[in-house]
Symmetry: C2
Amino acid sequence: MTLSLQYLGKLDGIDPLRKFRSAFALPEGIVYLDGNSLGALPVASAARVSDLITHEWGQGLVRSWSNHNWIEAPQRIGAKIARLVGARPHEVVVTDSVSVNLFKLVVAALRARASRRVVISEPGNFPTDLYVIEGAFDTLNAGHWLQLCARQSLLEAIDTETALVLLTHVHYKTAEVFDMHAITRRAHECGALVLWDLSHSAGALPIDLNGAEADLAVGCGYKYLNGGPGASSFLFVAERHQNALVSPLTGWLGHAKPFDFVDQYAPAPGVARFLCGTPSVLSLAALEVGVDLLLQADMTLVAAKSRRLGDILIELVASECGGFDLELVSPAEGHLRGSHVAFRHPHAYQIVRALIERGVIGDFRAPDVLRFGLTPLYLGYEDIGRAVFTLKEVLTKRLWDRPEYRVRATTT
Amino acid sequence: MTLSLQYLGKLDGIDPLRKFRSAFALPEGIVYLDGNSLGALPVASAARVSDLITHEWGQGLVRSWSNHNWIEAPQRIGAKIARLVGARPHEVVVTDSVSVNLFKLVVAALRARASRRVVISEPGNFPTDLYVIEGAFDTLNAGHWLQLCARQSLLEAIDTETALVLLTHVHYKTAEVFDMHAITRRAHECGALVLWDLSHSAGALPIDLNGAEADLAVGCGYKYLNGGPGASSFLFVAERHQNALVSPLTGWLGHAKPFDFVDQYAPAPGVARFLCGTPSVLSLAALEVGVDLLLQADMTLVAAKSRRLGDILIELVASECGGFDLELVSPAEGHLRGSHVAFRHPHAYQIVRALIERGVIGDFRAPDVLRFGLTPLYLGYEDIGRAVFTLKEVLTKRLWDRPEYRVRATTT
């Protein structure tokens, strides 16, 4: 067998990204394949947040809004994330959660395409995306409807009735990648807008929002950006749309002059109008450390390693775990796949539990999917080997078949 | 003069809340009168957040959503805050910002009173409250309108056309207190709902939401609850309304079964339906420390001290700073006043700058208000004396009259 642990260890030895591993505080003996659910802790984050709390909050108190530029953090970190997603610095801000930012942009887009009533997405999109569309429809109460199209028929479904196409760039379960350029082009031909959810791609795949002439996007801070649990999310509005779109969430920090405290709302120029309430400064500080770390890496190398990690995982599972009902759900071809690999198995939940108890943390997605996240900054090739050999043992010895694994706990 | 520093020091010596002062990390030589903008740092917060980052995030990784009950934090902390505001444990959750939570509740209330078109508030309410109403109106696009009534004519303005009354319990600038019982009663007589913004009262004043039969409320985590900059806010929905109201922000964590990942939205039972996206776990951890600290204090003592600190401040300013154009904006009578005291002065901004440079941190609110926050847990009577004597010096020697104080910086 060519993909021995020894061989994989050699790949690690020549991996140009290997140096980033020590920038993360990974627990001993764990293979972490769930960085696409919650990214690992950058070593520098603890000290940064500690300094923020002790020095900036404790000693600086309210003065730190200006003295430590807390007030500019949403734009400052947004400008950094812009570099990771092919946007201009003033096209991205960081604030609120993905769900809240989706609502802002869905409503803004539907109001900007007021004569159209159709939103297109796909069935099985990440639930919050679909739920937020429902909530926006109920709130607008203007006869909108949602057309869920399987991805192979999506391009043809877009027409001149389409107001908005909302898709997740990399599917949270299968890792299938949408062709951002082709779909955006088709939408524009029909006069529709596209809102890309980059939660499962930002920080792992090369993304070129401006190159694709993308209109709108959101993305998650706590996955590949390693911003910590519940990190603030980011929001992108192409410069050409910024002053035409208005957020429904007209909080004071999106006001043109928030500190004038006037009674009437006037949206700030640019993307700042999509800010709303006071942002979580602690959350932003941790996110900035994660983003800064990622900016030190060459995204071409990151994407190439992500693909290779996935190829090796798929190949190893095929060679080591054949005959155990594992069905590959993700595309085998690397260029069609995001940075995780999913398999279907009737006992997926129990298998994930058994793996976690043996130090291999992947995750389960209902009803029957095992999902393994591949985070090129801190994951090695040998880790993939260890994970698959553990999986093989779990399957061979039916270690998943224990009564306590039948009770489901919630995770995210 | 009776209110000498010596006398005030004696009051501190017999203050039953004095012991709480050492639970806060206050900078040397500072009198902090801005805890109503950003509460001071509880000593325990740094260690708690550090443990969360290093241990729960770093070592526990994604497992901590269950193993460390991150997933339950919004409800757990909500139940604690419920004790501070006279609510039942299952009537409060912590999530998102005040602005976002206002939007959820304004829209939910207007949809529950669909035949009515009027929202009542007061001119000069905290801007975000008014802005969010505007944003909700634009989104609903159903002909609603906002009636801004001066507070003396508010009760009469409420009638059977009123859908919702949205008021800030303690005015952010003047500290005037609304009679929650009387206004809620009047609104209910007319079939209207009331949404109370408790941002400037929760944690400083006794609040009895259930006693007043309140419908809806929101409040801030970073003022008197000492949750840190941009802390998550809380949201109250009276039990009787919970299953009739639906949030417009239908994010996945407000779903009845978020981890089933189904395409259709179904609101969770109870107040949990007002959760939206993944909450900031760092922010929640810091907030919980602040709330736990406050729960150790007797709120009757807190409220009584708040009032006395204000009485003394007002009396001292009158006796020491007369003849300098300072006009008391807040009610002189303690029971009509929240936990801060505001004065008007044509050079308010410069005076605040001069005070800050001398270690007395109050704040400025446009266009001409000096505001002094009184936080009974960590502020002493002698602090008030020091602040007023510094103010006297600034006024007497015109120390505020410097060119660099004419350039305004932003604070929050």
